[in-house]
Assembly symmetry: C2
Homo-oligomer: 524 residues x 2
């Protein structure tokens, strides 16, 4: 996947490769499990032997998510803790029983779906507790109900996104939720982290899809049936979306579906500069012409995309010389997607295209966009390969009002760039705008640099802190769709204020009085 | 307004008129104000003399909202309590000071915007406290910021909707929020009650417009800046939307705007029956063809609309004979509205029209729809006139998934009908569908009957209880946009469960530990 040519490109940018392979699975070091025999026996009595595991491989697999520090630690064989056991309940009573038992025995509970958190959301933190388990939702993974009239599916939290899509496609339906972690992510995990799919501009982020849900907490169940909208008091559904396992576990959720698209039109365009592209995205969002997917790369990301394009299709089809002739040589690549019923998608595409042209966009056809679609879930694999070559690659994201977006882009990119230089590892910082709203959009940054061998975590910490400070200083949210987890917890108070934190902590005290649920996450 | 002809129509339906005029303002009976002189002096010190009032007319005006039982009581001169004083803070410090002072002196605080609650949301309930004040937001009523790039306005809670629209129209912008109470309602009141405007199908209910807000509670401020979306933990913004003054007061709110429509296309259509109309609304909602406004009257409401149409335009333009010829004599009237930029609104109208025709809708032109628009805020005035004629008119609403909608319509209508008959006052029960979502819609019931003279409140209570029980039994929410207030509080636990109520009560205990904020509302 990572070709000699790609590594050559990186070298040309000053980022050299040095082999840095991961240790073998059996060499990963874990502490001896600390669960008391009495607690183990009771857990086993609850969920059966098949629902309880503490073998080495299972513990390693549940030791961390897929954030950069997680990977650095795992690859070196020294994860930051691991669960003492993995517990897999298979019905409501087992789930409730496990939480009550854990509260009683002072066992921390880390809800675990696909394990794809990139912010330390599934780190096996025990807080002040004796032990910690991973509550793996793999056996609560069924489609419970499909209401084809109301386009609503009720799904257990542990169901993986691809399994749900397969079921839905048999009925010509889709959830339309395709985050980069799609191949592994669980539905409950998406809801717990306020995930946004790549086509969220049209389908909406997961928060817009939740019609009802049941959350099981140590001290109570909250059960909210599916309804399209209500004025019955504070928005409890929305409150539980984004609760990151720190208030309770999402047992099942009712989600809004769409009819599977009969037509998908994906198209690429170039803008002469980033500002012109941003202006056009805003115009699409504010003039009833929102594509289902829209992303605009800044100049560095456009350069790297063209240079690294594996299939070569973007680079081939959109010859630099052609763009140069048209004045777009240093331009910014945008990709737009329209999905829907035949005719309807085309109509929306037509309306959007007029605005794209008016905004100075040069439409360069469908192949570059198709190339992007083919590789839309591959970035995590590429990251693994870069890590094996001693190269750090990390992403972070935010969202802000349109009026702040260009400044925020510049400020955060500068902060990352300066921090990397400060570490003595200058790198490449790139960004795209995606997830459009009428009032603003998301910025998604990627940066690549040589690893500071032996000091990888400190290097990461330095850059992460600089970027996050720049984000909140510039009026952005600390996270648009990666969630808070452990990594963003230090910025949570800045995000919701002391009053907001107090409100959340009061909620947690009521639902989880012993504080066993996902300690150390969400700053709760 | 209420013509002899209209009263004749009602008589023909078995609903006779008997004059029942309200008592004069000065004859409304209020208890002597109970505020202690020390508290009064401190309040006056905080907000100034111009910010404090306890005169008779002011107290009567703040004694209740505009629900049916409120009006019955006020008109008889016996309101169910009244505030001991009306306090009007004019800045943040005054607002905070008033809440802290009231907490200290055990004075209940009822936040008051336009006073248009129809569910007892502003009833001057003191709970267990010594006294009760109305916290009138009239002096916190400015547009604080207008971000034309991000289409975002930051507005103080007390600003009235028409004042905001006037300001926005100078910039060719609109909030697009037009509830029936539009002429009086405050922006903070809309947010506190999860209001939905008549064109919410396109513009979204107020919950979709809130980007940030500041809520001032006795024990804390919660200040959430405007952002388009975030994954930073539980949805605190949504939690505060719908908090009905029971957690704190909305000092200001940042709201998403739209460009003012350059074109508005309002059109009426007839469906042969209610089911065909509902099926078509669902198809519009699920096929990317949602009108900004859509409402479909059932047969009784269609009959009454045609009979009572003040201008006569609906009846004139859509002659019964014409409809009869086409097989729609007993049909159901629908109104569709499309607002937007020139061309764009027309395109959406075209797409919707195809689906309306496919669904069996007979488009009867624009005049009936224009007639509806002209009188869209007049129902409350008509209600007053009916009350003066001894005729009860009341509305209630719900929302449910499409798969439940037809059954729910039948069940709730039957329950109201049976309850009215049980009171010995058979009436007319009618309904329309409005506020469309992809997964469901709202049902809005109106019923008219002769008042049970001397027993008006018991009569109302009987019907309200029967209807509400039918709503929740049938899978509807107890309220789609009227809020909980006092009248729906008995159904709140059924709506959010014991766990949901406990979560909300824990929040309240944190933010309002003395329980002074709007006692008796929201079941908190």
């Amino acid at each position: 996947m990572l070709t000699a040519q790609s590594l050559g490109h990186l070298r040309a940018m000053g980022i050299g490769a040095r082999p840095n392979p991961p240790v073998a699975l059996q060499r990963v070091h874990l502490a001896t499990p600390s669960l008391q025999p009495a607690a183990l026996a009771q857990l086993s009595g609850l969920v059966g032997e098949e629902g309880l595991s503490s073998d080495h491989a299972d513990r390693v697999a549940h030791a961390a998510g897929r954030g950069y520090p997680d990977l650095v630690r795992l690859r070196s064989g020294e994860p930051d803790g691991a669960p003492d056991a993995i517990v897999r309940p298979s019905d409501h009573d087992q789930l409730r029983g496990v939480l009550e038992l854990c509260a009683q025995h002072s066992i921390a509970v880390v809800p675990f779906g696909g394990g794809t958190s990139v912010v330390g959301g599934v780190a096996a933190v025990r807080g002040g507790h004796e032990s910690v388990i991973a509550l793996d939702m793999a056996r609560l993974a069924r489609l419970l109900d499909l209401d084809r009239t109301s386009l609503t599916a009720t799904v257990q939290g542990g169901m993986r996104a691809p399994a749900l899509e397969r079921e839905l496609q048999r009925h010509t339906l889709t959830l339309g939720h395709f985050p980069q972690s799609f191949e592994y992510v669980s539905v409950g995990g998406c809801v717990a982290t306020r995930s946004a799919g790549q086509a969220s501009s049209g389908y909406g982020a997961i928060a817009k899809m939740v019609l009802g849900l049941r959350v099981v907490a140590p001290a109570a169940d909250i059960d909210l049936p599916p309804i399209p909208a209500t004025a019955a008091g504070p928005g409890l559904r929305e409150l539980l979306v984004g609760s990151e396992g720190a208030l309770g576990v999402i047992e099942h959720v009712a989600l809004r579906l769409r009819r599977a698209p009969a037509q998908s039109i994906y198209e690429a365009a170039f803008f002469a500069d980033f500002a012109a592209g941003v202006q056009t995205l805003r115009s699409l969002a504010q003039r009833h012409a929102l594509p289902d997917l829209a992303r605009l790369s800044d100049r560095p990301e456009t350069e790297v995309s063209l240079a690294l394009a594996q299939s070569g299709s973007i680079a081939e089809r959109v010859g630099r010389s052609y763009l140069g002739l048209r004045g777009y040589r240093h331009g910014c690549l945008a990709i737009f997607g329209f999905e829907g019923q035949r005719g309807e998608a085309a109509e929306r595409h037509e309306r959007a295209r007029r605005l794209i042209s008016e905004g100075g966009g040069l439409v360069v056809g469908r192949s570059p966009a198709q190339a992007w679609r083919r590789t839309r879930f591959t970035a995590p694999y590429l990251r693994d390969e870069l890590l094996s070559n001693g190269i750090m690659v990390e992403t972070l994201e935010t969202a802000a009002q349109w009026s702040r977006l260009l400044d925020l882009h510049r400020e955060v990119a500068s902060a990352i760039d300066a921090a990397l230089k400060g570490c003595g590892t200058p790198g490449v910082v790139m960004c795209h705008v995606s997830h459009l709203y009428e009032t603003g959009a998301s910025l998604y940054f990627t940066f690549i640099a040589q690893q500071l061998r032996g000091d990888e975590l400190a290097q990461w910490q330095t850059v992460k802190r600089a970027a996050s400070d720049a984000v909140v200083r510039g009026g952005g949210t600390i996270t648009h769709h990666h969630a808070i987890g452990r990594d963003h917890a230090p910025w949570m108070e800045r995000e919701v204020g002391d009053g907001g934190l107090r409100a959340l902590r009061a909620l947690k005290a009521e639902l989880d009085p012993r504080g066993i649920m996902n300690p150390g996450k969400l700053a709760l």
